[in-house]
Every structure is written in C-alpha cells, then in structure tokens.
C-alpha cells in the first residue's frame, strides 16, 4: 500500500501529521505535507486511513500496489 499527496491542493492543515506522525510531517518552508515513506507497513493502515479521511482538502490518497 502506498499513500500519495496532491501537492497542488495541500494547504498545510497538518491534520495528517497529528494523526500519523510515523508517515506524515510538514515541511518548514511552505508547511505542506512531507511523506516520509510512500509505501507504508500494513500495521499503520488504520492510522494512514484516518489521516486520509481527515484531510480537509482531500489531498491524500491510498493506492494499492504500485505508485500512482
């Protein structure tokens, strides 16, 4: 499983960072999301899914298999 971000619509709410800091942080320049590892382990699926659902801009997406 992979998680990807649409950087054009990310506005740096940082909700993903709050919920799953293992995978998400924000850059210190524009404050937009930084994904530490796009391919994440299965045991983080619930947290990543919650982070995706909490993105107010709908900028995050989980992709099965290869990178989108």
């Amino acid at each position: 499983m992979y998680v990807v971000a649409n950087m054009n619509i990310c506005q740096g709410h940082a909700r993903c960072e709050d919920i799953c800091p293992e995978i998400f942080s924000t850059d210190d320049n524009e404050g937009k999301v930084v994904i530490a590892q796009s391919e994440f382990p299965d045991d983080l699926l619930e947290k990543v899914r919650l982070a995706v659902r909490n993105c107010p801009e709908g900028a995050l997406r989980i992709v099965k298999g290869g990178k989108a």
Partner: protein, 349 residues
C-alpha cells in the same frame, strides 16, 4: 430565496451564537438565500456549498469583501488578494507559521501565559476575558513583532476600537492610527533589525532581488495585527467556559497530557464547536450558480459555525465529542486562503 436575517442581531443572553444560524436551518430556509440586511448578501448554509465557495476563488473573490461594505477598506496582504498574486505574500509569511515554527515559539508562549496568570493568581480569580483572553493574543503579537511589553495597553486599546466600535468615523480614524503605528514599527526594524517577524518582512526580497512595496508591507502588518486577536480571544472564551463548566472535559485533557495525538483530537473538536469567524466573499461575474442568479459584486457569507455542525458531514454535530475521529471542520477555512496562523492558534506543540 429572500429571508430577513441580520447576523449581527444576537439576542442578549444567547449563550451559543451559532443558534441564530441553526434556528434558520431548523426553520427550513433555502440552503442558499439572500438577506437585504447589512448592505444585502447571500448566505450559504450547507458544508459542501461553503467548501466550494472557499475553493472557487475565480468566482468568489476575497478582494474588498467586508459586510456591511466599508469603503475604502485596506487590502490585507495576503488575505485580501486572490491567487496567483496571493502566493507572493503567502509564501513570504507561511514559513513563519508552519508547525515546526510554532513548536519553536512554544516556550515563549508558555512563559507569556504563566506571566499573565501570575498577575492574578494571588487574587484567587480574574475576569477571564479582560485579564487573560484579551491580553494573551495581543501580547503574542508584540512578541512576534519584537515590540516591548510596555506597549501592551496601547495595542489593546487599538484592537478594542477596531473590533468594538460601530462608529464609521471612529473606525476610519482607528485604521489610520494602526497604520501609523505599523509604519513607525517597520521603519524602526529597517534601522535595527531583530529576530522577529516584522524584521523578516522588511528584509524580504522578491525574486528579482527587489524590496516589496512599502504599502504591501504595511498591509501584511495590518493583517497580522487584526487576524489573530479577536478570533483568539473569543475562541478562548468559549473553550474555557466549556472547560470550566464541564469536569469530565477537564479530566479528559488531564488524562491525555502524555498523548499528543489524542490531545490534538480533543482540541480539534473544541475548535469545531467554537468556530467564531464568518467569512465573506464577493461574486466576480453575473452567473447562474446552483440554479440561483448571482450578480457581479454580490456579497456572500460562508458561516463556518453552520458548516461545522452540518449533519450531512458530522455525526451528532451539536454534541461535543472529544474523541471525534474524523473532523474536517472549517474553523480555519479551507482552500488557498486557509488560516495561516492555525497551528499557532490551536497551540500545536
């Protein structure tokens, strides 16, 4: 389609101003309606329409939007400017308010809070708004701008007139006064730069290496002065009243001091329920939108406190659930103009 509704008309003693909006929803008024009050404006009531309004900056401009209209009104940078020009000052200021930048401010903010509390601790009580909630954000502004603490009363007085006066002449004079203070401050920072936001703004250069226009610098200062004061004071008042009257909520926070993720989830819920900003936009062209005829320059209100309690989006929206797992509230807006100071406001650390 037309409803006689004045959103400044909050009955005395109403403890939750969101009720004036939810009363409308319960009455079954159309989800987009027009009121002739306050210069005439549209109101959006559905979360999904409000989000669309925020995102569609080509139809809904952020330029010259106050309701009732105030002319002339300063163009706040970057809040009052639409993309792509908006990006110039957004990019300049955003790094000063990222989650990491806010983490670096935490110690100073805690020190400020402790100092204010020490001022009334011995008395055993205080007027929460006057002694704490009004002072804290203004003092924070002084810290960020590298101004001495002695100027607190002066800045509180300026902010009070800006947010409380209903006299248009007094308000116009007040805006002039604020700009004079900002002008003097930025000039001092040019001569003697410090490690503060005001110094960073005057020192900034555009892509060609040139200075930014002085008026834009003042407009940035004006935005930073007004954006983070009353919103913070009012939100604090609602949040602390809730905590003061709800022992379970206090226990909830006390029990999660070592669990930042859970703590943040609870804070987001208090942010959702305590939204205080009603945001304005201006229609850019004549058009039919969702079956409604809009005219160029029509004003639109996007009430966050209605969006945040839309049952189509939030389960049991009127209840405060400090464990709410999915919480895409609009307290800080959404889209390109999303609140830049949100990480500072929600006390991320």
């Amino acid at each position: 389609m037309i409803v006689d509704f004045d959103f400044f008309d909050i009955p005395r003693g109403m403890s939750d101003p969101a009720e004036i909006w939810h009363g409308l929803v319960r009455k079954g008024v159309p989800p987009i309606f027009y009121t002739p009050r306050n210069g005439g404006h549209w109101v959006f009531l559905k979360y999904i329409d409000i989000v669309e309004g925020y995102r569609d900056h080509q139809l809904f401009s952020n330029h010259q939007t106050p309701i009732p209209p105030i002319e002339p009104f300063p163009v706040m940078q970057p809040q009052g400017v639409d993309p792509p020009d908006h990006n110039v000052f957004r990019k300049l200021l955003a790094p000063m308010f990222t989650p990491l930048a806010v983490r670096r401010m935490t110690e100073g903010l805690q020190h400020r809070a402790n100092t204010l509390i020490a001022g009334f601790a011995d008395a055993g009580g205080c007027d929460f708004i006057e002694d704490y909630a009004a002072k804290f954000p203004t003092a924070t502004f002084l810290d960020l701008f590298g101004l001495p603490e002695e100027r607190l009363p002066e800045f509180i007085a300026l902010a009070n007139i800006f947010f409380r006066s209903t006299d248009s002449q007094v308000r116009a004079m007040n805006v002039t006064d604020i700009y004079e203070v900002l002008d003097e401050m930025f000039r001092a920072k040019l001569r003697e730069p410090g490690h503060d936001i005001a110094s960073a703004i005057v020192a900034a250069r555009d892509e060609a290496g040139g200075r930014y226009p002085w008026q834009d610098i003042l407009n940035c200062g004006f935005l930073l002065f007004v954006a983070g004061l009353d919103t913070v004071t009012n939100t604090m008042a609602y949040v602390w009243r809730y905590l003061a009257t709800t022992p379970e909520a206090r226990a909830h926070f006390r029990g999660r001091l070592d669990d930042p993720a859970a703590f943040q989830i609870a804070i987001e819920e208090l942010m959702r329920i305590s939204a205080v900003s009603n945001i304005y936009r201006r229609v850019m062209r004549d058009c039919v939108y969702k079956g409604i005829q809009f005219r160029r320059n029509d004003r639109v209100v996007l009430p966050n406190m209605v969006a945040n309690r839309d049952p189509a989006i939030f389960d049991n929206p009127q209840a405060i659930n400090l464990d709410r797992k999915v919480n895409n509230h609009l307290t800080f807006g959404v889209g390109p103009h999303r609140c830049m100071g949100s990480h500072l406001a929600s006390g991320r650390s």
